[in-house]
Symmetry: C2
Subunit: 112 residues, 2 copies
């Protein structure tokens, strides 16, 4: 180490969130960190959609979409409702739009 920075380190250390929170937070961002899941979320921006519609829209297997929807639902990013045989998924939260929006802004400014 260059100098003795123990007091600074202790100060920084005291500001670090608890490990459990960090784990939850990185798990949340992992959900956005996948191309397919991001496309699913974007698909739901405008309106709710059934599984097969998303699959067709994204040109992917119903199974693949279903697996990812399960992950997204476990992370409380989407909800669903049943209507007969079909199940409609929708964005669970306005934070989804906000988080994606902030990420987009960062990209814009990067390219600037």
């Amino acid at each position: 180490m260059p100098h003795n920075h123990d007091s600074l380190l202790n100060s920084v250390r005291s500001q670090l969130p608890k490990e459990e929170f960090l784990a939850d937070l990185s798990d949340l961002f992992k959900l956005f960190g996948d191309n397919t899941r991001l496309r699913i979320l974007y698909s739901l921006f405008e309106s709710e959609l059934c599984v097969c519609a998303i699959a067709e829209l994204l040109g992917m297997t119903q199974s693949a979409i279903s697996h990812q929807l399960k992950v997204l639902k476990a992370g409380n990013l989407v909800g669903n409702r049943r209507e007969g045989k079909t199940i409609y998924y929708f964005l669970a939260d306005d934070h989804v739009r906000t988080i994606i929006g902030q990420g987009s802004e960062h990209l814009m400014e990067e390219t600037r």
Copy 2:
């Protein structure tokens, strides 16, 4: 498919961002979707830190931290400056704080 939703699908499809943008965006969120990187970013909230300080703070190898800092720098989330032998890293952008903040808020409301 339950009904004929072609017009809806076309509408949604036209709103989907380009594939390149989606790839960049998911790559960005991937950076936040790792416990170690998130802890590094949080460490830099208060002040810039040298590599060895971060390593000590997080109880990890200098090599592991250095690898992750390289990833974070490639993603324009951190910058660095040299001062003699030591290299100080700092947050590159206020969006880092904002994005993390939005993620945190989502978690809070979830637990509510």
